[in-house]
Amino acid sequence: MRVRVNADKCEGHNRCCALAPELFDVDDYGTATALNGGEVPVALEAKAKLAVENCPEYAIEYVRDGGEQDK
């Protein structure tokens, strides 16, 4: 599983970083990024899902295997 943060939508609510600090970080101006190129280890898949489902801006997307690269 891979995830990415759509920087145009992200407004820095930090829900993702609070729920899955292993997977997301946020900069000084409140824009989040997915760590490790968005790669989600199997053990953290549930946390990734939580982050996706708690982002009020709908800014976190799943990247399908074989889908386009993040940036």
Binding site: E11, A18, Y29, G30, E53, N54, C55, P56
Partner: protein
């Protein structure tokens, strides 16, 4: 509260200050969402009240057709503006909350780095010590007013500490902010008075820090530049004003609402006391269910929304609290579920004006509730009839008489 005629038809004549609505607005929102999802009223200067989550998501993004230049739920009248002596010197802007593009983002970026999760974490020990100290003051009595003896002091003293002013003044701050946001919404004379006091206070503070910079927030704001230009004194005063006004009533309300909930729902109280790992999701659920803040936008261009048309000069309320009860987005929306896993609530707003203080507010709530539950895990209302609620721009309990075993 000012007396107004009772509401007969909420879809065409709602009253955001109606006592029953202030106490429990959920049934009104639920009914409107089904029957008339964007209600209208001529009361309090006139406004539109959307109730669906989808509309709130859409309206925050209609910039600048829905402008932030007047975000108060009840606008100042022309007479009020002409009469107010403070406006000549300071204006009435509180960037970034009153800003639209292109001014908004640069102003917002001055504040954001001061309130990141990492930036607010160092204030946690201060907040913890504060909460323990407050509880020390009343725990032996077995009674307290949880709104006035506890919740209100946490954001007031913390923001005073963050801004770099004497925390002894925090009681005055509370009076000023309530004068502006609570009494002032229905009484222009009060609004003028307290707006003046706050602007003057920060005007003097800004001048003092300009002359003698310290390691504090005001000095840091003064040291910043936008496009190589220092920030205008007016704008720094407006920003400090905003941090004070936006940070106190709001967080006070959310802490008090949570304590009210647990005092009236013993099964939830016992569950949280026994399962402290639920604090993070329980806090988000309290924020969702009892969202304190309603903002407003001023219409600047004719805008179609569903079945209605907003005309220039109209006021549209951003009913984040109502959106957070929309069953289209939240399962069992009118039930508190402490371990709700999927919770895209918008208590802190959404879009480009997302609350810049949300990390600080969440930290304060976390500390306030954890310390309370650690010290006073069993508590109840002594007299439910004595509970009072403020509403309008910011909704939350203002009196919470509690008793607990000593």
């Amino acid at each position: 509260m000012t007396k107004t005629p009772p509401v007969e038809d909420w879809a065409t004549d709602y009253d955001i200050f109606d006592a029953g609505y202030v106490k429990d607005p959920v049934p009104v929102w639920d009914k409107l969402r089904e029957q008339c999802p964007i209600a209208h009223t001529e009361r309090w200067g006139g406004s539109w009240l959307p109730t669906s989550y989808e509309d709130m998501q859409a309206f925050v993004r209609m910039v600048p057709a829905l402008s932030s230049r007047d975000p108060l739920v009840v606008s100042e009248s022309k007479e009020e503006m002409e009469f107010d002596p403070i406006l000549d010197e300071y204006g009435n802007k509180a960037p970034p909350i009153t800003s639209d593009p292109p001014e908004h983002i640069p102003m917002r970026r001055l504040i954001l780095p001061l309130f990141t999760p990492k930036a607010v974490e160092p204030y946690r020990p201060f907040a913890e010590k504060l909460c323990h100290g407050l509880i020390d003051g009343f725990i032996a009595k077995g009674t307290c007013d949880a709104a006035l003896d506890y919740a209100v002091h946490i954001p007031a003293k913390t923001i005073a500490h963050v801004i770099g002013v004497d925390s002894e003044r925090s009681d005055e701050f509370v009076g000023w902010v309530r004068g502006l946001l609570e009494e002032g919404m229905q009484d222009p004379a009060k609004r003028i008075k307290y707006r003046g006091i706050i602007r003057q206070f920060f005007g003097e503070l800004v001048d003092a820090r300009k002359a003698n910079p310290r390691d504090d927030l005001v000095s840091r704001l003064l040291a910043q530049e936008i496009d190589g230009q220092p920030i205008a004194r007016k704008a720094v005063v407006g920003m400090c004003n905003l941090l004070l006004v936006a940070g106190i009533d709001t967080t006070w309300s959310s802490i008090s609402s949570a304590l009210w909930h647990f005092s009236t729902h013993p099964e939830d109280r016992r569950r949280l006391a026994n399962e402290p790992e639920l604090f993070p999701s329980a806090i988000e659920e309290m924020l969702r269910f009892y969202s304190p803040v309603t903002m407003a936008r001023e219409v600047t261009e004719e805008t179609r929304a569903g079945d209605v048309t907003f005309m220039p000069g109209d006021k549209v309320l951003l009913n984040f609290p109502g959106a957070n009860h929309d069953p289209a987005v939240f399962e069992d929306a009118d039930k508190v579920i402490l371990d709700r896993a999927k919770n895209r609530h918008i208590a802190f707003g959404i879009g480009s004006h997302r609350c810049a203080g949300s990390n600080l507010a969440r930290m304060e709530m976390d500390v306030a509730l954890r310390v309370w539950f650690e010290r006073i895990p069993e508590f109840e209302l002594t007299d439910p009839g004595a509970v009072t609620w403020a509403g309008g721009q910011v909704r939350g309990p203002r009196h919470l008489p509690f008793r607990f075993p000593v």
